[in-house]
Amino acid sequence: MAESELLDAEEYRRLCDYLYRRTGMAFTEARRYFVERRVEDRMIATGSSSFASYFARLRVNMEGEVEKLINAATVNETYFYREDHQFTCLTSNMLQERLRVKPPGEVLRIWSVPCSTGEEPYSIAIWLLENWPEVDAHDVEIVASDIDTNVLNAARSGIFGKRALMRLSAGLTGKYFTRAGPEHWQILDELRQSVRFTAANIVAQTETRPHGLFDVIFCRNLLIYFDDTSRRIAAENLYESLAPGGYVCLGHAESMSRISPLFEVCRFADAIVYRRPLEAKHG
């Protein structure tokens, strides 16, 4: 295996420490091969002759190198049912927990932010219909927001290519989509109408507040791009946007441990998620 090791052990540690502090992404030794390949790609792309010179470039964020490495490390691509273990956790744990403490009859509210071109909020809608036996007994509202109005328009139109649908079975595609061309499918009108799309910048309290309180927020692979101050503001906005006891889900390489102490960590069978404490802690 020695020839596959681009970085020595000390360099890998230094890189992981830096990435954790700078982005909140936590990589362990188990992910070393994956991380090294991404770094190798970035070293080639930047013409860096050694890890030392690449790391110096990364530390000063030359030409946006931090963002470029994050993109490489998160596979910056959205598709239906991405990281669906969190959807499993949603239907087997989080919604049940919320129903236990919510007044009967109150709407369950889920927020997908950033929603990009809509794969995530529509995935949630399909997942609930397919996998949650209680779906007919409760009202669920799905709100989807992004800062980019172009992607919101695409999301509203609900037309997707083959790659976005790769994780869905033919059965699900047939059930929830109609063909919109040789390579494209459009999600059913009924589902399109069920998701409300809004423009929102998660760092702007004036834009997050009007959305009200949510039971579950999906905020995946966004905070890793922020600097410390923006991340703190975003975490406080997320906290304010959650009902007490509500949950926030981050991307699978992300850890709230680097971002904010406002939330409690919760381990369910399928996912680690973060919860706004039911009662505010004092002292």
């Binding site: 000390e10 540690r13 230094r14 420490d17 954790y20 502090r21 936590a26 850890s255 709230m256 441990s257 680097r258 971002i259 904010s260 102490p261 960590v265 381990r267 680690i272």
Partner: protein, 128 residues
């Protein structure tokens, strides 16, 4: 735990401190995990518990004393994991706060190989 090794979680934001403990403990036959602050440690322990902890005091996001307090409020077996607090802080206040939060031992840095190995052996029962 397939190989029967005892697991120690090092909770310290300093990379070289963790590396120093890791090398000593691996040579002494322990399996070692690392976390860079108290919140990350809680997250890791919820996924897989450890047999002993080495905990720094000053760390980002969640300090060692707050971490120990939060850990002792968890359900068993997490709440009972023994913890050695190592810190550069030698004030009586810190020692008292660490004890009150649930530290089993408090050791002012630096900590040498033999001493560290002795604490861990005491917590875990000698490896082998």
């Amino acid at each position: 735990m397939a190989d029967g090794k005892m697991r120690v979680l090092i909770v310290d934001d300093a990379n070289l401190v963790r590396l120093y403990y890791r090398q000593i403990l691996e040579e002494e036959g322990f399996e070692v995990e690392e976390a860079l602050n108290g919140l990350e440690a809680l997250e890791r322990l919820l996924v897989s518990p450890a047999d002993a902890l080495i905990v720094d005091i000053n760390m980002p996001q969640m300090d060692g004393i707050t971490f120990l307090g939060a850990l002792r409020r968890q359900a068993l077996p997490l709440s009972a994991i023994p913890a050695l607090v190592t810190s550069t802080e030698s004030s009586a206040d810190d020692v008292a706060a660490a004890r009150a939060a649930g530290a089993n031992f408090y050791h002012v840095k630096p900590i040498g190989r033999e001493v560290l190995a002795r604490y861990m052996a005491m917590f875990c029962g000698a490896p082998q």
